[in-house]
Symmetry: C2
């Protein structure tokens, strides 16, 4: 069955979905996006994604292409029309089409594209196979809290990881602190057993899965810290993992080619994956969703 | 007469030019561009643009969509079909269409879009009306030598300038040095009379007009320095101007609301505009075009 995309007011075969060459998303990366996980037929973290989208659009002064409720109707339509039980929804909003010129155009109708894709159901066994990450300098712009489509540095970083057989690249700033992965948040369990992920701010994107894991940890009484951690701490960590809407809670067992802890998936990591799955199945996603920078 | 665009192998009415929603340019800003000035029916700085494009594509490992000669045939076709005597050509190359995933796709045909636009002929009188610039923090990524389409921060900066009635925003780094404008290189004549523009490197884009002005200055025996200059030096400058393919040599007479020098267009600036126009009319653009970072 062919995929269906929603493109500026129309449902079209995915292969025919197109936008104008002067869409500012194409010429200027002047737009934002969200990726929703679909798990067992349900959208995960809907409110979180909408809240973060509100933040991104607000910071860039891009107008909503339609009201939030209507938007979610379209999102559900795209899920249904693509028969997605497990997979993801990709939603992109740009400032729209205008004659190429850097300043915001006076009048512009925001562009909206929504696609969906089936993926295998969340598989705890597969997620519990550890992956490797490398560390690379964080060369991105200074507003990582905005989920913009200006993802070129993220692509370069991810490609660098894949070219050496690693799953992801963790980026470090000028203070040698790990900020995050190119498309996932970074977590470690330090050698003293502290569960740590970087605090929100303009240097990371606050992931919806990150928020869900934090709430799941909190609900089960697990201690954790939101603070900066260094490459050195990561190199000496007992456990490590990444979180994202597509990676869920994925164990990291090698950093820069060296084993994390004993080189096997950590106990706390495995525990958090269980807690996360239970949490999203019962709550549908994070409840506290208003801290974006 | 309607504008014609070249889009992935076809000449189409500009209004109908479109690209797929999964073009990596649209989803990831995974592409590069060039803007050629057309002056009196001639392309300016052709070799410079091609050399810089070679650098940008090479750094991103994006394949040429066709050979350089063929590309220039298409560029000239677009100029002709749009009857452009004075104006500009916009050329964009992206990594192409692929299912959304950060790493580079294994197989991908680069996408190519070329458009052209008429503009009023270069008008020395108009260019000699001074404009204002503001200074703002440089929040961009760390590879400004690559002419990528990830221009969101440039758009935000330009918009910030325009919202206070300024023509351009000059960006300063963490050392309080001016790097460049959001779409033009920045130049000053210091209070001691030194003509200065920042040296090339990963913190600026080496403009083709910048190169032409440097050569024109050199040819006429004018001393100049390529070095970092501070916001303070800019604030105390005698003269200031910006260079770009669309701004040519444009006098700056206000920085952050304060007059530059006596508030009138500087002598050296006016002289350089004359030299630049003579230079491109005789040479067609800069000759030395191989220093990109």
């Amino acid at each position: 069955m062919s995929r269906i995309a929603y493109v500026n007011g129309q449902y079209v075969p995915h292969s025919q979905g197109s936008v104008h060459i002067e869409d500012r998303g194409y010429q200027f990366a002047d737009g934002v996006y969200e990726v929703f996980a679909v798990h067992g037929g349900k959208l995960i973290g809907e409110q979180g994604h909408l809240d973060r989208l509100t933040h991104s659009l607000g910071e860039l002064q891009i107008k909503w292409p339609m009201g939030k409720r209507s938007l979610m109707v379209v999102v559900r339509q795209v899920v249904q029309r693509n028969h997605v039980k497990n997979g993801l929804v990709y939603l992109q909003i740009t400032r729209g089409v205008a004659r190429r010129d850097h300043p915001f155009p006076a009048e512009c109708q925001s562009a909206l594209v929504i696609t969906a894709r089936k993926m295998p159901p969340l598989d705890k066994a597969a997620l519990s196979k550890g992956v490797g990450v490398i560390t690379i300098p964080d060369i991105r712009w200074q507003r990582k809290d905005i989920k913009s489509i200006a993802l070129l540095p993220n692509c370069l970083g991810k490609q660098q990881a894949r070219s050496v057989g690693a799953y992801e690249a963790w980026m470090y700033n000028e203070k040698d602190e790990i900020t995050e992965g190119t498309s996932a948040n970074a977590w470690i369990v330090t050698k003293s057993g502290e569960l740590v992920t970087r605090q929100v701010g303009q240097s990371i994107l606050n992931g919806i899965t990150r928020l869900a894991v934090i709430e799941a940890a909190r609900a089960s009484g697990l201690a954790f810290s939101e603070r900066a951690f260094s490459r050195q701490e990561a190199a000496e960590a007992k456990e490590a993992f990444v979180t994202s809407s597509t990676s869920h809670v994925k164990a990291v067992t090698r950093i820069d080619g060296k084993p994390v802890g004993n080189g096997h998936v950590g106990e706390l990591t495995a525990n958090l994956l269980d807690l996360y799955v239970d949490f999203i199945e019962s709550k549908g996603g994070p409840v506290v969703t208003n801290r974006w920078n």
